[in-house]
Amino acid sequence: MSAPAIPAPAPAAPAPPPVETLTVKVNGKTLQVPKTHPDWQGRPQPTTMLQAARCGGVDIPHYCYHDKLPIAGNCRMCLVEFGTPMMDPATRKPILNEDGTPKIAKSVLPYEPGTPRGAISCATPISPGMEIYADSPATKQMRESVLESLLINHPLDCTICDQAGECKLQEYSVDHGQAGSHFVEAKVHKPKAVDLGPRIVLDDERCILCTRCIRFTKDIAGDDALGIVNRGSYNTISAFQTGKFDNNYTLNTVDLCPVGALTSKDFRFKMRVWFLKETKSLCTGCGTGCNITIGSREGTIHRFEPRDNDAVNGPWMCDTGRLNYKWIGRPDRLTEVRVNGQKVTWATAIKDIGSRLTRASSGSVALIASARQTTEELFLLKSLATRLGAVTDSVPREGEADHLLVNADRNPNTNGTRLTGIAFTEAGMQLPLIAAGIEAGTIRTLIVFGEDVTKHGIAPELLAKLEMLVVSDILPNATTALATHLLPGASHAEKRGTFISVKGRLQKLTKAIESPGDARAEWEFLHELVHDVTGRNGFTSIEGLFNLMARETPAFAGLEWANIGDKGVDVKI
């Protein structure tokens, strides 16, 4: 996380307590490493050899180890040769070489003292003076032999495997493997294309039995649904009930699987991963604001994947959020700007709306903006409303929360609607008032961004009474059908901007693909409209717009677009 570089006016925070360190050597380099590191649950635990090596920039290859899962220690890929200082049993002091350096006893097999004994670096704590030989011939030999073992029963069908390009088996074999295998026996055959659940297919022959999927679903998702059946080489990953691996987090196991054993039914065989363009973005499925990577190619989105952010979602996301992308490419997307049913240019429409709004009497306009709009859009809409003396509101969207990520607030930017002043503490309070105003004829213009208000207490008959109904949306609905001015908007994958999570994390969207037809990012045409109506200018870029909003919104004080970073910043909510 990159903290915002705010010039610190407040008194300096108390210095954090000094980190206790140990001295170890990694590949000959002396390092001071912290005594503890957070474990998978974030609790400080003695630093492991693997973590110490990372401190020195050395990445020890590993399969079963994952920062956010309990340690299993089963793949043995991370075995390393190591040594510890020799101690004088009498004085309990290190025995020194002639040059004053401590004598190191390399770890050897107790029953075969000529052979190095490796330790699994993922689970072995460091001790003072320990030397870790992550690249020694003995370490390399151990690695090679583990890889050889993993490959003897593997089908080696990379050419038709979805994981190709992201496969740790492929990658490590190139980096750490040996030229050929000695294996001349018949391979073990196991089930292929096993239907684990509605979203997951398993190829047991590709599985290296690292148990990441099992540990995830048991210890993170809280659904003890996967396990191993049979014994030895015949070990097979299996669902408690075949086809019933069906919690809302199953697809994370596909990300976790270091090989191509677990595949997403949704993504299977669709696309070679190296063709995908990756864009950092956010899930808009609920108020949690999980960080995602959008995988797209030539204007089409092929997948969402979680993007690591410890402040928000860790490395996970829910299946609902992950699969919620297909609507973006729907053929019935709104792609034309229309005024009274006639296709027009953006310039015509914006000019017409602007001149009508300028003439509207104060109090005759109401504005409903979705909490799915970006904060910048909400800010622009609020400036418009302020100028027009318009009543504003948003639409609440509630569901059930779960124990892991999913929030009861199904809007991604409820805090954005509050902090910009579009909605009050309770979104939706003004909707009956607006309905009544239309009914009474006091409200004659309604501006709707991103909601089908007919579902929220403003019936089509009411909408028909309006003099002007300006609607911006992405997909057609009962409200867009009645619009006098229809403005096709952009999905979150097609624009830049920010959302503020339920916990007050302000995070950025980046543009992955172009909008279809004439559809445009709302902030782009809104800033023109705001200029026409209010005369205000200076936000033709998202950076400029954000920075202006930040200056005018107390909660964003001190923030600048450039300082938000990929993982967002906390704002006061």
Binding site: A72, E112, S149, L150, E185, L209, I228, N230, Y234
Partner: protein, 477 residues
């Protein structure tokens, strides 16, 4: 002539000796328990006072008792590692999974003298402040489990077990848990997982040392059946007297399971180190010699996992001379004293004290084929080197015993085994690798010859006698 020394097995074969408590009491049963709980605390030279429980812990250390389950680790030292400051309950588990091929000693105790084990367990639990203990018994011994449950009930009704044992205020419960038939359930951390109701996947150490994070993540003592029985005798005899049995650092007695090509297979209890391998095989008190006309080929001295010894081998052993100086002396294989240290110095181990004798009628290739199949069948499959390596070894030896050998198979087998030992989660890796490494090293000619003969036969058009390996029956797919 070497004699048996019957301490644990004293009454087992006596006519009329039965597993019920009355019989056990008539033979002096539960006297050790009465003695221990009534014993005074002990004042040490430095003024420190040991509670009666601490006294027994110290006595077990002083007795020199070493674990009889396989590794031969000091029982007293193991008890001293138990984390007594965690505030968590301490558990004790009796390992009655006895599954090492060749081993059939614990089952004698379990089936014929269950109270001897129960008394040893109560004493060990009392000494270690254990309130709840388990006997994990091999699934294939249903009768043993039944007898244990009967015996536990008897002990409870006599006030030796349950609440307020013998009026001391000490409470203890012991439960019997039956395994479902897997060798790996004998490995102590696999056993613990199984007891917790999970798949018997051995745990990684660090951090899961049973003495600290054992059963239900609480400090736990795991001891073998025979080990726990010895505690009763340590109490009865006193630690110093007990330590006079056997030889220094190899104290007490041991039950040897003797099997294979000998005239009198069976179990024999000896003072540790007082009987040699040769005596075990040839003496009329023990194995009674080889079958007529046969000569000795090899001995597997400590259960199927131990490294094989070849007839005629001579070992260099450390010996303390009368002047206290250490020196190396040559000891022929049959003169090896049967104890922990001598066998270790001979490059193998006494393991579960199962001695398997092979005569010249045996093919070492076929014998290894049999062993490797066992290990392929029993690998739990948790960690890569053993999971993949154990079946690989079995497939390779299977080829060699079915006309598909190759000249390079000797080196091939060693390569596979070398990549297993020392790289696995549990000692099963060694168990699977050691037979292979020792067989192909010591009987290289036999393996080379088999590979060469197969190649020659195939060159002449011979068809391999292929049949699917029984390990394959494990494959459900």
């Amino acid at each position: 002539m070497a004699e048996q020394f019957k301490l644990i097995t004293k009454h087992l074969d006596e006519p009329g000796f039965s597993p019920d408590i009355e019989c056990y009491l008539q033979h002096g049963g539960y006297a050790a328990l009465r003695k221990a709980v009534a014993s005074p605390s002990r004042e040490l030279a430095d003024g420190k006072k040991l509670s009666p429980q601490e006294v027994l812990r110290e006595d077990v250390k002083a007795s020199g008792l070493r674990g009889r389950g396989g590794a031969g680790f000091s029982a007293g030292l193991k008890w001293s590692f138990v984390d007594r400051r965690s505030g968590k309950p301490i558990y004790l588990i009796c390992n009655a999974d006895e599954s090492e091929p060749g081993t059939f000693k614990d089952r004698q105790i379990l089936h014929r003298d269950p109270h001897q084990l129960i008394e040893g367990m109560i004493l060990s639990c009392w000494a270690n402040d254990v309130k709840l203990a388990y006997i994990y018994i091999r699934g294939e011994m249903p009768e043993g489990a039944r007898l244990l449950n009967v015996a536990l009930k008897e002990a409870r009704s006599k006030g030796f077990l349950g609440k307020n044992i013998l009026g001391t205020g000490y409470d203890l419960e012991i439960h019997v848990h039956r395994g479902a038939g897997a060798y790996i359930c004998g490995e102590e951390t696999g056993l613990i997982e199984s007891l917790e109701g999970k798949r018997a996947y051995p745990r990684i150490k660090p951090p899961y040392f049973p003495a600290i994070l054992g059963l239900y993540m609480c400090p736990t003592i795991v001891n073998n059946v025979e080990t726990l029985c010895h505690v009763t005798h340590i109490v009865n005899m006193g630690a110093a007297e007990y330590a006079k049995l056997g030889t220094p650092n190899n104290t007490g007695t041991r039950i040897v399971s003797l099997s294979g090509d000998i005239n009198r297979p069976g179990y024999y209890e000896i003072e540790v180190g007082k009987v040699t391998l040769g005596q075990l095989i040839h003496d009329s008190n023990f194995g009674g010699g080889l079958k007529p006309g046969r000569s000795l080929k090899a001995i597997i001295p400590g259960g199927s996992s131990s490294k094989v010894l070849k007839a005629g081998e001579v070992f260099k052993l450390n010996r303390k001379g009368p002047d206290g100086q250490m020196s190396k002396i040559d000891v022929p294989m049959l003169d090896l004293p049967y104890d922990f240290d001598s066998l270790q110095q001979a490059g193998t181990m006494s393991g579960s004290s199962a001695v398997i004798v092979l005569d010249d009628s045996r093919s070492m290739v076929k014998t290894l084929g049999n062993l490797s199949e066992f290990y392929a069948h029993e690998s739990c499959g948790q960690c890569t080197p053993c999971r993949e390596g154990a079946l690989w070894l079995a497939k390779a030896t299977h080829r060699l015993t079915h006309g598909e050998g190759r000249k390079e198979d000797t080196a091939y087998l060693a390569h596979i085994a070398q990549n297993i030992q020392g790289r696995t989660i549990c000692a099963f890796g060694e168990a699977a690798a050691w037979p292979v490494l020792s067989f192909v090293k010591k009987f290289k000619d036999e393996f080379d010859a088999q590979g060469a003969a197969d190649e020659a036969a195939r060159a002449k058009g011979a068809q391999p006698t292929h049949r699917p390996s029984p390990v394959g029956t494990l494959n459900p797919h």
